[in-house]
């Protein structure tokens, strides 16, 4: 468990405080996704601001992954309105894809390629120039301390290293928004802490971070958190606001109250 005192100070600063204004980058209105009779996302509405760390919480099967897949253009919504990075979520999915990054709970790098090869491939398909790819690769390897393993295959790297690399690759093309689907699953606490440092850094550069998790301590690192229960958004506020509303001293308390209240 990460101690509260470990949370970087910058974390709590909202996008308003950091950027002086709140620009909406994601707008979701009355989003519904049905699989047959099963309603995975029931009438979701929310807005996410530029540079914000927006947490998406919920038990397994609450509909987090379904929602994130719709926002990334991997899944078609059944109904509702969707604007992402200024583009319509129905028509301009390919334009949206240029402006977003994505890292899924499933491992997203190629295990049979080396660190450098993975960076080069993803950089290349996002249209970054060869020269720029080399520069960014060098910077990235230095930053992540991967000098000694940069020509090793991904499958030989520890999970924590891979996840940090996967995140870095997901934002290599400087997207407006990065979607992280349970990025820290199965990762040790120290690496998780380093991972969140990277998230803060990205958010401070103005990249909006949309993250799903079921680690309650991680929820406290977010600027705002929405908690999903049975496909619906049961609550949406800052962590402090949620704790106040539900009379709990941590997010776990909030979550349990919500889950029990259903």
């Amino acid at each position: 468990m990460i101690q509260k005192k470990d949370i970087p100070v910058i974390a709590k600063a909202s996008p308003m405080e950091r950027f002086g204004e709140a620009n909406v980058v994601i707008t979701v209105k009355n989003l519904v996704k049905k699989f047959g009779d099963f309603v995975a996302n029931d009438d979701l509405s929310f807005e996410v601001y530029k540079g914000e760390i927006f947490g998406f919480l919920g038990a397994n099967g609450a509909g987090k992954t379904t929602a994130i897949r719709i926002l990334c253009g991997l899944s078609k919504p059944t109904s509702g309105e969707l604007t992402i990075a200024g583009f319509d979520g129905y028509i301009d999915t390919e334009k949206i894809k240029k402006s977003i990054g994505y890292m899924s709970q499933k491992f997203s790098l190629y295990e049979d390629l080396t660190v450098v090869e993975n960076i080069r491939f993803y950089g290349g398909i996002y249209g970054i120039s060869g020269k720029e790819i080399r520069i960014r690769t060098e910077k990235l390897i230095e930053k992540l301390n991967l000098e000694s393993v940069k020509d090793k295959l991904i499958k030989g790297l520890p999970l924590g290293w891979r996840q940090k690399l996967a995140f870095s690759v997901a934002i290599l093309h400087e997207p407006k928004i990065v979607f992280l689907d349970e990025p820290t699953g199965g990762v040790d606490p120290i690496t998780r802490r380093q991972f969140w440092d990277m998230i803060y850094e990205a958010a401070n550069r103005g990249i909006t971070v949309f993250v799903t998790t079921h680690y309650m301590d991680e929820a406290e690192y977010c600027n705002r958190v929405s908690i999903m229960v049975d496909g619906k958004i049961a609550a949406l506020d800052t962590p402090d606001g949620l704790m106040k509303t539900f009379g709990a001293n941590n997010m776990e308390g909030v979550f349990l109250k919500l889950a029990r209240g259903k």
Partner: protein
């Protein structure tokens, strides 16, 4: 274009990093050509014959010695009773029983005619037909000897048949099989590599990562297709070289035509593979479907049995069988020396085929579901 370059770079790296890839590319063609070309033959050698000689006279022995002298027969047993011979037929020890009845010589001398009985295991109909034909020709030969002995001169039949065997004068079965096996080789490599590929990314989960990138569908498919196209073309060249060196396969036509048609044919096969790969979710499903098409297409392709002897409806099915087109073309060009104008209909069909399958593969590959 740059995007395709990066996909190609990644695909080639992955393919050649796979340790089983190089053995597959080099060992498979050699083994297939060497083993299949010799094994997949319809020539009958070593026909196992069981002779029941109830007559035991000079004439019956003379007939037996005819079979002894033939390199196609091996006499596995003589018996006095038909029952024993029949048992050999049942247990597959014998392929055919020749029964020479009692009084064979007497009837032949006195009445100028006698009969023998052939009992052939006809589970494999075409083999039985061949055994019948071979045995028939030996007995015919024996007949003409008797006629010569009786009339003191060679008797000529009123109609003489002079056969000449074109395009394969030695009637060498391998000459016929090897080009077909080259097609089989290229097809297996192309179909299975491509069928396994996209679905493998689905299994690992990397396809999601690809689908959230701005890659166009045609770029993705092209990136998957081109490496396998090169590998399959290389396999064809390598296989042809082995065929030429080891089997001294006659190459009467222009090899350039073979490669031109192959270029399109491989696109069609890869298209089928990618189509399978995009509509399945696991490598196991893809494998089963690929095998299904492989077996049906192969058995109907004319590789083993002539298409002309299939029923009309089966021949119609071959319209959608790419293997049939290419086997026809490669045999025509290599063995008959056909020119490009001779194979134009097949070439055109393959062009349409490749175009249709690839369009379908791109259409059915969904970045969003």
């Amino acid at each position: 274009m740059r995007t395709i370059f990066y996909i190609l770079q990644k695909e080639f790296t992955q393919i050649f990093r796979n340790k089983s890839m190089l053995p597959i590319m080099f060992v498979m063609p050699i083994v297939q050509l060497l083993v299949l070309s010799f094994a997949a033959t319809f020539e009958m050698k070593n026909i196992k014959i069981h002779i029941v000689d109830m007559d035991k006279t000079p004439q019956s022995r003379a007939m037996i010695s005819k079979f002894k002298g033939s390199k196609f027969y091996s006499i596995i047993n003589y018996a006095d009773a038909y029952k024993i011979a029949e048992n050999d037929l049942k247990t597959n020890k014998a392929d055919v029983i020749l029964q020479i009845p009692q009084y064979f010589e007497r009837d032949l001398m006195k009445e100028d005619k006698a009969s023998v009985q052939l009992t052939i295991n006809a589970i494999n109909g075409s083999a039985a037909g061949l055994i019948n034909a071979y045995t028939f020709s030996i007995i015919k030969d024996f007949n003409s000897n008797i006629l010569m002995d009786n009339y003191g001169q060679k008797i000529e039949m009123p109609i003489q048949i002079n056969s000449s065997f074109w395009y394969n004068p030695q009637l060498d079965y391998k000459t016929y099989m090897v080009p077909g096996i080259l097609v089989l080789l290229v097809t297996i490599i192309g179909l299975f590599l491509s069928a396994m590929n996209v679905v493998r990314e689905k299994e690992i989960g990397t396809i999601e990562q690809i689908n959230v990138t701005p890659i166009h569908k045609y770029q993705f498919i092209a990136g998957k297709l081109i490496p396998f196209w090169f590998i399959a073309m290389f396999e064809l060249a390598f296989g042809l070289l082995i065929a030429k060196l080891i089997f001294t396969l006659p190459v009467l036509g222009n090899v350039g035509i073979v490669f031109t048609v192959a270029a399109v044919y491989i696109l069609a096969v890869l298209g089928i593979g990618l189509l399978i790969s995009t509509i399945t979710n696991t490598q196991q499903q893809a494998m089963f479907i690929a095998w299904f098409f492989m077996v049906v297409f192969l058995l109907m392709s004319g590789l083993f049995t002539p298409i002309e002897s299939m029923p009309n409806w089966a021949q119609q099915i071959n319209i959608i069988n790419p293997i049939a087109y290419f086997i026809k073309v490669i045999r025509m060009v290599l063995l008959k020396g056909s020119g490009f104008s001779d194979i134009l209909p097949e070439f055109f069909s393959l062009v349409v085929y490749a175009f249709a399958v690839l369009t379908l593969a791109v259409r059915l590959y969904k970045k969003r579901n």
